[in-house]
Amino acid sequence: MVDKFLAGFTQERVQMANKDEILKVENLTKYYISGYMFTKKVLGAEDVSFDLKKGEVLSIVGESGSGKSTVANMILRLFNPTSGKIFLDGKDAFSFNKKDYWRRVQAIFQDPYSTFNHYYNVDRPLMDSFDLLENSGKTYSKTERKEIINKTLETIGMNPDEILGRYPHQTSGGEMQRLLIARTLIIGPEVLVADEPTSMTDASTRVAILNELLRLKEEREMAVLFITHDVGQAYYVSDRAAVMKDGRIVEMGPAEKVFFDPEHPYTKNLIASVPKVHEKWDI
């Protein structure tokens, strides 16, 4: 059962491999409007366009307030864009039923503490993720669900006996983020939006999460939108990179080009400000 479950995804992938582009974003703009009578507009993102291919990692880099998370939330359909369009697999994202959409587009959020309900143990979001799958017709019994969860946790190097049944306050931030990765593995989306997935981890465990993302990309041909402020991490995982400033993409291209031969003065400044371990600044 489990193997069939896991094999199902690869078959789907093969069928769709000829259509390469999975997510396309066109002129996405978002203004946050506050106030009731005297409204005030705050720019979230403006004129953001990019596309994402299967098995590709695109990272969006920028400082805080540059609109990275705004773009992520719009792609996840958590905010409605002011204008602009999102296409999933060639179809308008807003034409999907939300549950069908989330079956194909999933996320790992910045703050795992607010993703888990603190009154329930960490199994619950994993168990509930099957409800999304059942929406498409299959049903899973409780033992099947448990078996799949155990197997998935093992593939990402976690011990299910140790982690399952714990409550969120008993797990570390890094473990929670890896549980969320397990959740995406179970749902098997086509697009994964990873919004600062390493924000709660130490340097020593960060690489494990990034390697997990790379494996998702390699083995399942998942398209990953990786959002971060850390250029080192962005370079490590991504094929292409986009740099955002004040809601706009100022530079986009292959990671190698953006990070080591940047053109835009802002990118140059950003990269010069990153402290390096093996090199000392002259200040």
Binding site: I271, S273, V277
Partner: protein
């Protein structure tokens, strides 16, 4: 140059509460000389901040001093009356900038009023906000800050500016030792660079004698400090000159920690980077012997039972049985 600013000997501090005893800091001996900038690095929960809190003599609730010596320029911090500590040592000999210090500015007061309050507390004299502004203006000019910042409210400043103003205020009395906890953790990279530059400036202009910087960001510490202490589970694993440790780490933990960093360098893409297996131990129940042994790839039998003593090797202090040989103080 050989003036000792800070000396700790077997410093211990535990958290005690309904959760049991957390062995936060368990025997740290370090000496900081005049002119040195010591960086403390380690994973979260390893006791970096606890150590910094213990140096101040006024720890957070539930943290208790359990023994050992903290000597700041001749003041035995834990054995002098609290009033002396508050009036004579703090701000004048030692200044502590805690984590997220930028939020400690009073949001309902202009910064100059806040400064006037602080000056009254430290000098037993009353100052009007405008006098305080005049007193601080030279100091701020030295740190390339406009004195106009004192006239406004904290919410009008950006995070980076708030942090810089906080550090400027806390170095006003020219303390010998400045302890900064995570000065850059909530800042963007460009403000981080400005912060590092400012701390270096403070040191170069001899407003302070030495500095201790606590951070999880090794890249930042590398730019700022000339000595590095690598902490794990409440103890120092390795301590010595920054350049030496970075170029040739001796302790297995330091080696793994440096190996798991992701700097923006070309080789990372092809290198098979690995994280350190396992997780940081729960300090309520620390492993016996060397505390790193459950995760250590070079673990030997002796590591499981006996605590390694810090020994000197290549001008560094290393606590590891790989280098210790037979001599030890045991546990």
């Amino acid at each position: 140059m050989s003036e000792v600013v800070l000396k700790t000997q077997d410093l211990m501090g535990y958290y005690r509460g309904s959760f049991g005893v957390v062995y936060g800091v368990d025997g740290i001996s370090v000496t900081v000389m005049k002119g040195e900038r010591l960086g403390l690095a380690g994973e979260s929960g390893c006791g970096k901040t606890t150590f910094a809190e213990l140096l101040t003599g006024t720890p957070v609730p539930l943290l208790y001093y359990e023994g050992g010596l903290v000597d700041i320029e001749g003041y035995d911090v834990w054995h002098i009356p609290p009033e002396t500590l508050r009036k004579e040592v703090k701000c004048k000999h030692m200044s502590y900038v805690p984590q997220a210090a930028l939020n400690s500015l009073n949001p309902t007061l202009r910064i100059k009023n806040f400064v006037a309050d602080m000056l009254k507390e430290r000098t037993d004299k009353k100052y009007s906000p405008d006098e305080a502004r005049e007193m601080l203006s030279d100091h701020l000019a030295m740190l390339n800050l406009d004195k106009h910042v004192l006239d406004i409210y904290p919410h009008e400043l950006s995070g980076g500016m708030k942090q810089r103003v906080t550090i400027a205020i806390s170095t006003y009395a020219k303390p010998s030792l400045l302890i900064v906890d995570e000065p850059t953790s909530s800042l963007d990279v460009t403000s981080q660079k400005a912060m590092v530059k400012m701390l270096l400036d403070i040191h170069r202009k001899e407003l302070i004698k030495s500095m201790i910087v606590v951070s999880h960001d090794l890249g930042m510490l590398r730019q700022l400090c000339d000595r590095l202490g690598v902490m794990y589970a409440g103890r120092f694993m390795e301590e010595g000159k920054m350049d030496d440790i970075i170029s040739d780490p001796l302790h297995p933990y330091t080696r793994l920690l440096l190996g798991s960093l992701l700097p923006l360098e070309r080789w990372t893409k092809t290198a098979n980077l690995k994280s350190i297996p396992g997780r940081h131990p729960d300090l309520r129940n620390p492993p016996p012997g060397c505390r790193f042994h459950p995760r250590c790839p070079e673990c030997m039998d002796i590591c499981k039972s006996k605590r390694p003593a810090a020994i000197e090797k290549n001008g560094r202090q290393v606590s590891c049985w790989l280098y210790s040989g037979e001599s030890s103080d045991g546990e």
